[in-house]
Symmetry: C2
Subunit: 236 residues, 2 copies
């Protein structure tokens, strides 16, 4: 197994609704002399995906009632409330703070909702890159979620195209020849976390190349693999 390289893609301009992220990413990568290649995995942050898909809604950030109503509208189930914080499940099946609604890095007076279908957003970017750059890449859409029990936020996948979201190593023998019991690795989440290390919250780098992932991990994938079913979930 070889080394992995994670390359931030800088030089992507502030995006607007209708922009083609695939084009912007392919162009910026070529301009910084790291043109996209087959089996690169491109990680793109939710912020820019929501912007090009025009998922911005008007919101007076100081109006806590309006904010709460928006979060409730984007939720299918409320898990916990504390003060202004709501932990809820979105219609995608994600459990996160404030239904994943983004208040930072958005125009004043607006909030950014999650993409309607981030797998489809990832497909679209991937197809554009295939045409624009001639490269067969995978795409992961990432977002920044809090976790139960652990302090600090980590990036996870909210959309996937061309990559296994979960790699199932159940039944493969471990180094001592015994069956591994349960080793389903949340690959797309780990890829999102890895990419976040070069993107930086304040640096406005909305995409990164993860280069060197195992060839067998590139297949049709969906973020639905990462959703724990409610009946399997001990904390919902």
């Amino acid at each position: 197994m070889g080394a992995l390289t994670i390359i931030p893609i800088s030089g992507i301009p502030e995006v607007r609704p209708g922009d083609s992220l695939g084009e912007l990413i392919a162009t910026a990568a070529a301009a910084q002399d790291t043109p996209l290649a087959d089996r690169d995995c491109i990680v793109v942050t939710q912020k820019v995906v929501s912007k090009v898909e025009d998922r911005l809604v008007a919101l007076d950030h100081e109006n806590l009632d309006a904010r709460r109503e928006l979060v409730e509208r984007e939720s299918v189930r409320i898990l916990r409330r504390r003060g202004d914080l709501i932990i809820s499940e979105t219609e995608h099946g994600f459990v996160c703070a404030n239904a994943g609604i983004d208040l930072s890095n958005v125009e004043d007076g607006f909030a950014a909702l999650l993409p309607v279908d981030s797998d489809r957003s990832a497909h679209r970017i991937r197809n554009t890159i295939r045409v624009e750059a001639g490269a067969d890449v995978a795409v992961v859409i990432s977002d920044t979620f809090g976790r139960a029990w652990r302090h600090g936020l980590a990036d996870v996948a909210i959309g996937v195209s061309g990559l296994a979201a979960v790699v199932d190593l159940r039944g493969q023998a471990d180094a001592r020849g015994r069956e591994l019991h349960v080793t389903e690795v949340a690959l797309a989440d780990e890829v999102a976390s890895a990419a976040e290390l070069v993107m930086g919250k304040a640096a406005a780098i909305p995409a990164a190349i993860v280069r060197g992932l195992e060839p067998e991990w590139f297949r049709d994938g969906s973020v639905r693999e990462l959703i724990r079913s409610p009946q399997d979930d001990l904390f919902r």
Copy 2:
């Protein structure tokens, strides 16, 4: 912000109690022509740390009562039970399955407990590498945990030395000049997840180099930064 490189360290032999992991890692890295350098972050899996620290205990894996008793003994609080699975809090403050006790990749008839103090384990490896390789590195001890709500396992940090476990970006302006509300990034967890991508569960690679992290992230750190306090935790 530059690129990040993640290099698996292969050629580390099967370890035994009392072995010096710092020596083994420095030697193996040099032997594969990727000698350790200042500001590398070395990620080391819990499995090998528990082995060199002789945290193996006898356990008949088929004896479910013995297994349950061991998990309960290593727990300070049980959060959930379902069948053989116990989600509990360890005395370190980690919430995970089966108190973090490792049944795979261990000699038959044994199980591996978590290190007593993984920050100290990380310090020890770091100090040895400073002496053996003349390199001032950071060290993260990683383990594979399940998550609430999301399917699949991801590697997280259970011990840290020389690196911020959480990077606090609160109050730094975002790209639009507005204050960021809460952006405390679980840096050491993201580093552990990134390293896992080159280690592979079945490949028996127990350590990796993460090269290219931001210089300001290298400081005294502790895994305690990553423990969400029970009063701040809505799911305990």
